[in-house]
């Protein structure tokens, strides 16, 4: 099963962390990414630029409106993602539990939809 691990942070809290705490988050994430690359479970993963760099696009009656900033105003922002393929949900959850941002904020784990299906 493929899963998307969505990683959230609160930018205000992030800035308030000590340098050592910030380093720990970065280093722990790098270590997990290396481990998942080696195990063949990581399909893709990236960090996202600061949410202030977001463009939100809406099209109404064929007219696009492009505004600066995220679609949903929230304290916590999506800061990165990992696309995983794991044998079981338990294994994917285990990875999510170890993800360092989960200690300070939260990560979300969501199964991907697939294009295959069985006729019923």
């Amino acid at each position: 099963m493929k899963y998307m691990l969505l990683i959230y942070q609160n930018p205000a809290n992030w800035e308030a962390l000590s340098e050592g705490e910030r380093d720990a988050v970065m280093n722990d994430a790098t270590a997990i990414v290396n481990e998942l690359t080696e195990s063949g479970e990581l399909i893709a993963g990236d960090g996202l630029a600061d949410s202030s760099q977001t463009k939100t696009v809406r099209v109404r009656d064929g007219v696009p409106a492009i505004t600066d900033g995220p679609f949903i105003e929230a304290k916590e922002h999506l800061v990165g993602y990992c696309l995983l393929e794991c044998e079981t949900l338990e294994r994917a959850t285990e990875i999510a539990v170890r993800w360092p941002d989960a200690r300070h904020w939260a990560v979300e784990l969501r199964p991907l939809m697939i294009a295959s299906g069985e006729e019923m």
Binding site: M1, T37, E38, S39, G40, L42, I43, A44, E85, E87, L89, P111, L112, M113, I114, A115, S116, G117, E118, E119, M120
Partner: protein
């Protein structure tokens, strides 16, 4: 068939023989497998221009051996220790046929996860390239290469040897091989449309490999049963999706699109197997598929016989998916409420793990029973749970059809 297809078929057929020859001579399954893969790629690029050599098998063995000795020499220089290949005993004469079985058993080693067993089987026995396997499983090539290399390490760490194990271990290991072939088939068969069209190649590959196993174990009724099940299922492929990828339920399929050649072969296989060998789950599932296949119209289906076969199957392989199908057959024979009662026994079954299938079957039976509101609710619940886009679309469509009826 194009020249390129013919080359591909020849290469895939020779792949396990060449790998077997190398492993006998040098040991070291992991290194041999890499060398064979390189030789196959060399053949795929050179043969179209230079033509197929007179003895393609010998050509591949020579090229692969050269790659392997180069690699072992490099490794030797790197590690400055005795060349592992030098210490190998002289190869015992073994037939290529046994090699294919030994390779299958090795690639489907119980120390590996099913995903790794599948990838390694397709590469080492099927002769597919890492890129082809990666495309079929919708992951980047680097990810698949990593999985295959890890699978080979795990086999080595488990101390597995390249040999056909003695009975009764062989019978047990063969069950795993059959399950892996079944998973490969399903992966290809359940593909629908769009960017995933290459996946039906997996169906062809699974059928080809199962045929190869049957040639080696022709007296094993379950091998025949699995091949029959694959053929009878694949016979419906053209009818199971609409051109836009939407799923068509069995009852609504255009049966004139079913492939009669596959139905005939599958039916003959399962009929023979049932008459001669001890009955197993693949044979029973194939028998059920054969009964569906012989009905000219959906309403001609012999549900009584299908119900009896599901009862038999539940006795030998008790799992909730069998019970779901059993409930449908029961509903067709005794009415929807009998089916719904059987479904109720699955409520909260942890083996279903919140699967949408329970809700989907319940919705179908509630619709049969004329309980429209409950059916709509169950279809919607199933649609929320499934991770399959075409299934979600199908279930939402069912709910919408009932609401507007």
């Amino acid at each position: 068939m194009t020249t390129e297809d013919r080359h591909q078929d020849l290469l895939r057929e020779l792949a396990p023989q060449v790998l077997g020859a190398l492993v006998h001579r040098y040991g070291r399954f992991d290194a041999c497998e890499d060398a064979v893969q390189e030789a196959l790629l060399a053949a795929a690029t050179q043969w179209p221009q230079a033509g197929v050599p007179d003895n393609p098998r010998a050509w591949l063995v020579t090229v692969a051996s050269r790659r392997l000795t180069d690699e072992l020499r490099r490794e030797h220089a790197r590690r400055r220790r005795e060349d592992a290949a030098a210490a190998q005993p002289a190869p015992a004469p073994v037939s290529d046929r046994d090699d294919t079985l030994a390779l299958l058993v090795l690639c489907c080693h119980p120390a590996l996860s099913p995903a790794s067993q599948i990838a390694l089987t397709l590469r080492a026995v099927g002769g597919l390239s890492t890129a082809q396997i990666a495309r079929a499983f919708l992951v980047p090539e680097a990810t698949m290469a990593q999985r295959i290399s890890r699978a080979k390490q795990s086999i080595k760490a488990a101390g597995a040897t390249f040999a056909i194990p003695p009975e009764p271990e062989l019978a047990e290991r063969l069950r795993v091989v059959l399950h892996v072939l079944y998973l490969i088939f399903n992966e290809g068969y359940s593909a629908t449309a769009g960017p995933h069209l290459q996946r039906p190649d997996l169906v062809r590959e699974a059928i080809r490999l199962t045929r190869a196993v049957l040639a080696l174990r022709h007296d094993d009724g379950e091998v025949a049963g699995l091949l029959a099940l694959m053929l009878l299922t694949d016979a419906r492929r053209a009818a199971r999706t609409r051109p836009d990828g939407a799923l068509v339920p069995l009852a609504e399929q255009d049966r004139s699109l079913w492939r009669q050649d596959e139905i005939d072969e599958g039916t003959a296989l399962v009929t023979d197997a049932l008459a001669q060998a001890p009955v197993g789950p693949y044979q029973v599932q194939a028998a059920i598929a054969a009964i569906h296949a012989e009905a000219r119209r959906a309403q001609d289906t012999d549900w009584q016989q299908i119900l009896a076969l599901y009862q038999l199957l539940e006795g030998m392989a008790r799992n909730p998916v069998v019970t779901l199908n059993h409930a449908v057959a029961l509903a067709m024979v005794q009415g929807p409420h009998a089916g719904l009662d059987l479904l109720a026994t699955l409520d909260g079954d942890p083996r279903l793990g919140g699967s949408h299938r329970l809700d989907a079957v319940r919705a179908h039976l509630l619709e049969m029973a004329g309980d429209r509101d409950a059916a709509v609710e169950a279809y919607r619940a199933a649609a929320r749970r499934t991770t399959s886009l075409p299934e979600k679309r199908h279930l939402e469509g069912r709910a919408a059809r009932l609401v507007s009826a």
